[in-house]
Amino acid sequence: MEKKYVPKEKKDTRSGFGAGLHELGKSNPNVVALCADLTGSLKMDAFQKDFPERFYQVGIAEANMIGVAAGLTIGGKIPFTGTFANFSTGRVYDQIRQSVAYSDKNVKICASHAGLTLGEDGATHQILEDIGLMKMLPGMTVINPCDYNQTKAATLAIAEHHGPVYLRFGRPSVPNFTPADQKFEIGKGIVLEQGTDVSIFCTGHLVWKALEAWEILKEKGISAEIINIHTIKPLDTACVLSSVRKTKCAVSAEEHNRLGGLGESIAGTLTAEFPAPLEMVAVNDSFGESGTPDELMTKYGLDTRNIVEAAMKAVSRKG
């Protein structure tokens, strides 16, 4: 069987952000960047080196960083803040809520080390609630790209979008398979494989695993449609519905708590418009722990085989 997606390399999504930010530094003089003492981890060093007058090191003071970013928009700047996902959301929720979202400020909150795959640091740093926190804020756009190329493209795209954005990415190296020249369209799901038996809606690091699941399902005689939902809010409901109207059942797959994540957004759409069986591959309302990324993804049920099992169960539940 000829493979449609053959990654030439494995790269971390955070480096895609760093590359995109550096490119924005060259192309858009209004782009400024702020970091709370994690410049290396966020891959913001290239921007810092080449555009020092537009880079603000705020120290370990995330609340102040969000407020300063909100203020920088007054005067036409487009601030990109960088820290880990936990400190980008939960720690500064009220600052984002009032000074950014409610005030409709054009701040791009860029968050690395999301989910379990930051690994050994453990649950204090492995936020699994950030998508939920951010998607509940009116006016907030929530984006979770799947690989290096897509993260870079998303970084460029959000600079052109007016309004607050939460951009979520991660630490581990993962297959880089999306085309480097693929334009990132906020709010548009991408059909990676067409299928007729089950729709698999995946986001972030789970997209590659869903493609692996597609192959296994094909061998089992199940035709799965794989859709990369890189934008969790606004959700591409037209894409979700047109696929499920065809397949009559769905799976969601994400590196996030099942409460508040992509699966819940899809469930809401299906319940309202086209009720159909939905199986969620997500962390089952728990905190993470220390371990290697692979060990954690296995222990918490976020592996390729979990997607396969969920798809088979969804298919079996079809009336």
Binding site: R54, A70, G71, I74, D94, Q98, D104
Partner: protein
């Protein structure tokens, strides 16, 4: 009537003397009809406006039986001086970015009545709109918001402690834009119990954000009682000095002369490598004898009888809304 922003690096605005003895004239433009106070330097004219603003505050909170009159009354002289005499601003050409204008951020958003009154009395929106304060569908929300595009408001505030960070960002944007204007903030003294204030204070000094003048309304009161009983904050001057700020004082923030000269003095300390903070002592409830000297009127509106008693102490100088 309105100032036109001067080129970067120009002299600060001076105001023409308006001969109208009543201290107010009416003006109409696309935004509607409202009272405009002459932009004149005379202290007595500012004091007249302050009396009117205090009437507005009391009538606004009384009409909806909610809101925060105490701190609003205490900061009235500051707001009137800032918008009437100190800031370079352009209400008729309001826009969010405010390039080539001085900017103001209210961090303790609960004193919105005085903010709204002074914005309206300076021509940002019709004075008649003050009657919509806190009512359904109003642009004059209980706490200020940009959500409804109310001219003059550049950030939502209400959840305390966030305004200094926002002002720092705006001040940094001015530096990047080569915009030689100043950013002002106001904070409650209770508000600075919030940790974010001290994150911001540390950042501003370390990064020489010296186009920033923050004023702390030191009235010694917060909702639960005197600040010295709720959470004593010690020596604020020593704290800000230790954080690397230029610390100035206004001994009586309810004396218009002192407020104007204190703010003008603060401007002379900007652009010298340090952020500037003014510790401004005020009396919560200033201007109404029975509201002073207590935290009781922090967030309580007067009843009909109390309103009448209060208004009797405050001459209607420019015309009620």
């Amino acid at each position: 009537m309105f100032s036109t922003p001067k080129p970067v690096g120009g002299q600060r605005r001076t105001f023409a003397t308006n001969q109208n003895p009543e201290g107010g004239i009416q003006r109409e433009n696309a935004a509607g009809k409202y009272n405009i106070i002459p932009k004149m330097a005379q202290i007595q004219d500012l004091e007249k406006l302050a009396s009117q603003v205090r009437r507005d505050i009391l009538r606004m909170v009384h009409a909806v039986n909610s809101g925060h009159p105490g701190g609003s009354l205490g900061c009235t002289d500051y707001f009137v001086a800032l918008y009437g005499e100190i800031m370079k601003h352009n209400p008729s050409a309001w826009n969010m970015d405010g390039k080539s204008e001085d900017l103001f951020f209210l961090s303790n958003g609960h004193i919105s009545p005085v903010y709204y009154s002074v914005l309206a009395r300076n021509g940002y929106f019709p004075v008649s709109e003050l009657s919509t304060f806190r009512k359904l569908n109003t642009r004059l929300q209980g706490h200020p918001t940009t959500h409804d595009q109310l001219p003059g408001v550049r950030i939502a505030s209400g959840s305390l402690g966030q305004g200094m960070s926002v002002a720092i960002g705006a001040a940094l944007a001015k530096k990047l834009n080569g915009d030689d204007c100043t950013v002002f903030t106001l904070h409650g003294d209770g508000e600075i119990q919030e940790g974010q204030i001290w994150e911001a204070a540390m950042y501003a000094a370390a990064n020489k954000v010296d186009n920033l003048i923050c004023t702390i309304d030191v009235n010694g009161q917060q909702i639960d009682g005197p600040t010295d009983k709720v959470l004593p904050m010690g020596d604020l001057k020593a704290k800000f000095t230790a954080f690397g700020w230029e610390v100035l004082n206004i001994e009586n923030g309810n004396d218009m002369n002192q407020v104007v000269s204190g703010l003008k003095n603060a401007l002379t300390h900007t652009r010298k490598g340090k952020p500037v903070v003014i510790l401004m002592k005020t009396e919560m409830g200033a201007g109404v004898d029975f509201m002073m000297g207590t935290h009781k009127w922090h967030g309580v509106a007067p009843n009909d009888e109390q309103l009448a008693k209060a208004l009797a102490q405050l001459p209607e100088t420019v015309g009620d809304y």
